[in-house]
């Protein structure tokens, strides 16, 4: 039956995370924007201790897995949680130690043994990060064009190549975590040749050569990683042996995104909501209240902009929740995940830009966090599939086209 109620468990979690965001994230948000590349250790340790290393939003966060005490709602829960964390600060959220995208890839494509082997470490010891390295200097959206190679040599794979834009890549390699590296076992085979490999922290031949300076989300590390004859055990290839021969490896890895795109969308929502909340509050302090049940002729330009921005964000939120809810029900959500990501990425870009404008010189100033949120927001239109890539996926799904028919 149609309901927009969050379960008591999720609602409670939402409140708890909101408090955390207010108390542990907001106060240091500006600091770690300005001190780019410095670690918010205290916050990271706190989050490690709270979460027990579980990734917010990786599917191991799903409650009741295999139990019968209630419906699954782990993905929806993750959407709500991540929104709240990003309401606190999106850069700090991305700096939280957990298995991250790398963990999601292991969950999506790994064998049971691999899950145990690679994810177990997140339940113990010091904070750790997992990361995923896909993008290369000359290939972004076009993952099938990856140039990084993996060559079988006896019981090992030997990896060579350069990866860029690897979120948390530096931390993953410094912390005892791992990086999931997409590489081709056969450059002539296109996407059929693309497999994903787990490279653990401490493996010789992998190193970070640059951590990027960015427009926003500066508390998050974005690494450029070089692999030079990086040798890893044969069974660090994610999935069963047969993936070697098929496109299953690529598909499984791509399927990671069906789970993670709603989470990126959720992060976008948090930033957008933060901007709206602040703009409303600042306007209220100046005697401007937003009215909802008026026609345009009775609204000020600012009120109308605010209403439109808020509606856009709420539309994105509901699309995001739907994508998470479908995942929880075990339904394929490839279309809905891309819808949510496309809508939320664009909405948060516009919402934050508009809120800065609404507040004028104050909005543009670094006195408020608002301008930072506008900078943070834009990444959501870019990473884990740009706006354009997600629109392409939506279009293919609604039209029933293959990636060859609509490219």
């Amino acid at each position: 039956m149609i309901s927009f109620d969050l379960s008591p468990r999720i609602a409670e979690m939402k409140n708890a995370i909101r408090s955390l965001a207010e108390q542990a994230m907001r106060p240091i948000a500006r600091e770690f924007d300005e001190k780019e590349h410095e670690e918010p250790h205290e916050f990271q340790n706190l989050m490690w201790s709270i979460s027990g290393g579980r990734a917010f939003g990786s599917s191991d966060d799903a409650p009741n897995e295999g139990k019968s005490s209630g419906p699954r709602e782990g993905n929806l829960g993750a959407c709500v949680t991540i929104e709240e964390l990003s309401w606190g600060d999106a850069g700090l959220y991305l700096s939280i130690p957990n298995a991250g995208l790398g963990g999601a890839a292991v969950m999506a494509a790994g064998t049971a043994a691999q899950k145990t082997r690679f994810l177990g470490r997140f339940a113990e010891g010091q904070p750790k990060w997992g990361a995923m390295a896909i993008t290369e200097t000359h290939c972004g959206s076009d993952s099938a064009a990856i140039q990084t190679t993996a060559v079988r040599d006896g019981d090992d794979w030997v990896l060579n190549g350069t990866k860029i834009y690897c979120t948390s890549g530096d931390r993953a390699l410094r912390s005892g975590g791992f990086v999931v590296v997409w590489a081709t076992v056969d450059r002539t085979a296109g996407r059929r040749g693309i497999k994903s490999f787990v490279v653990e922290s401490g493996t010789p031949g992998i190193k970070v050569i640059k951590v990027e300076d960015k427009l926003g989300i500066r508390a998050s590390d974005t690494a450029m990683i070089v692999l030079e004859d990086c040798r890893i055990p044969a069974d660090n290839l994610l999935g069963v042996a047969e993936v070697h021969q098929s496109t299953e490896g690529f598909k499984a890895a791509m399927a990671t995104f069906d789970a993670t795109r709603p989470l990126v969308a959720a992060s976008a929502l948090g930033i957008g909501q933060a901007a709206l909340d602040l703009a409303r509050q600042e306007l209220a302090q100046r005697g401007v209240e937003i009215r909802y049940d008026r026609c345009d002729a009775h609204l000020s330009a600012i009120e109308r902009d605010f209403l439109d921005a808020e509606a856009d964000l709420q539309a994105a939120r509901l699309l995001t929740w739907r994508a998470g809810w479908m995942m929880d029900r075990g339904q394929r959500n490839n279309l809905e995940a891309s819808m949510a990501k496309a809508k939320a990425g664009l909405a948060v870009t516009r919402v934050t830009q508009k809120c800065v404008e609404i507040l004028g010189p104050i909005g543009y100033s670094r006195q408020l966090l608002l301008e930072k949120w506008m900078r943070d927001a834009k990444i959501n239109d870019i990473f884990e599939g740009t706006q354009q890539i997600n629109m392409l996926i939506v279009a293919r799904r609604i039209l029933g086209y293959s990636s060859k028919e609509l490219s």
């Binding site: 002729a297 209403l307 509901l318 939506v394 279009a395 609604i398």
Partner: protein
């Protein structure tokens, strides 16, 4: 907890309306628009579907069903997917009936509702006023006390079914705030003007109502109508119809774009067209989710003015964009009346111009 699955009953209702809309409504939509008439037989069919009278008390000839704004939104979307004008035509009597169910006195219900239970019955409501800055936050139509009577003065427009309706619910400002009154068609001072001519919803006859010193007894005032809530229901219904219209546009443009070839391939294979269609698909879902959220709040008794106004506003602008883009996808074919898209564009433009026309 969060759930987007319809109940089995809702699915059944939806499937019934889908059939009705595709078999009875869509096929005649163009002709109705061109001729400006809708066959009255459709009202009989709507009665058989229980569109109006199922929530009436059994004593009044209904089934005593509990109304659901969510179910109402599902019905309205599917009807409007068929045709907006016909959808408004069939649902207009609700404007009157539901106002009485929700906010009428026992006496008022007994006086008016049995007619709705007995068969197709025309009654309507006069909400909109002919002003560029009309909204439901303040009415220029006034009602003042005169002993035991109320005297109503003002101008209304876009009143559906006005030519045949036996009575109207009229919204007016009183010194104590807005209120709703029953005005029978034969009251002195009530003049039903000439049929309006609009750009869209041309199949639906609408008329202006002029009220000049119309005197009605206190017993014609709806004593218990939560007017803001009733208007919220109207906004949700509007948004749901916009969703149906937008979905119609999207599906038509999608199918056309897959068929139509240019430069050797279906135009849907061109990113410029494909991205327009993707945007349309996203917007249809976005409108529906915002609408359902507001409807769900109404059903659960939560405050819903923010959400219903949001859904209605979002739906109005988004549906216009969807319809305009659908026409663009069709190119020249979109501009001629052999295809339905130009009709949908004209209808779509209506949403933000007549907030409050439709309800529940």
């Amino acid at each position: 907890m969060f759930d987007l699955e319809l109940t089995d009953e809702q699915k059944l209702i939806r499937d019934t309306i889908v059939s009705f809309a595709s078999e009875k409504v869509r096929p005649i939509a163009r002709e109705c628009d061109e001729t400006g008439t809708i066959p009255a037989s459709l009202q009989t069919q709507a009665f058989e579907l229980g569109l109006i009278h199922s929530p009436l008390a059994e004593a009044h000839g209904g089934f005593g069903e509990i109304r659901s704004a969510v179910t109402g939104a599902i019905v309205a979307e599917e009807l409007a997917f068929g045709d907006l004008s016909i959808s408004l035509y069939l649902l207009a009597p609700r404007l009157f009936a539901y106002a009485l169910i929700d906010g009428g006195s026992e006496e008022q219900r007994a006086r008016f509702l049995p007619a709705f239970g007995a068969g197709p019955y025309s009654a309507s409501a006069a909400v909109v006023e002919p002003r560029f800055d009309f909204d439901t936050s303040s009415f220029a139509t006034t009602a003042r006390r005169d002993g035991n009577n109320w005297i109503l003065d003002g101008e209304k427009c876009l009143v559906p079914l006005a030519a045949e309706a036996s009575a109207f619910v009229v919204l007016a400002a009183t010194p104590e705030g807005s209120a709703a009154f029953i005005v029978e068609r034969d009251r002195a001072g009530l003049v039903i003007g000439e049929r309006e001519k609009n750009m869209g919803i041309k199949a639906l006859a609408t008329h202006p109502l002029s009220l000049k010193g119309v005197s009605i007894p206190e017993s014609n005032r709806l004593p218990d109508l939560d007017l803001p809530r009733w208007l919220d229901h109207g906004r949700v219904a509007n948004a749901a119809m916009a969703c149906g219209l937008a979905r119609g546009c999207f599906e038509f443009a999608r199918d056309y774009a897959k068929e139509r070839k240019a430069f050797g391939v279906p135009i849907a294979q061109k990113q410029a067209v494909a991205f327009m269609l993707a945007d349309m698909a996203i917007e249809v879902d976005a409108i529906r989710l915002l609408t359902w959220e507001a409807a769900w709040r109404l059903d659960t008794g939560l405050p819903a003015t923010t959400e219903s106004a949001r859904a209605s506003r979002y739906a109005a602008s988004s549906t216009l964009r969807v319809a305009d883009n659908a026409l663009q996808v069709l190119g020249g074919h979109g501009y001629i009346r052999d295809y339905p898209v130009e009709l949908w564009l004209r209808n779509a433009r209506g949403f933000s111009t007549f907030e409050g026309l439709a309800t529940v």
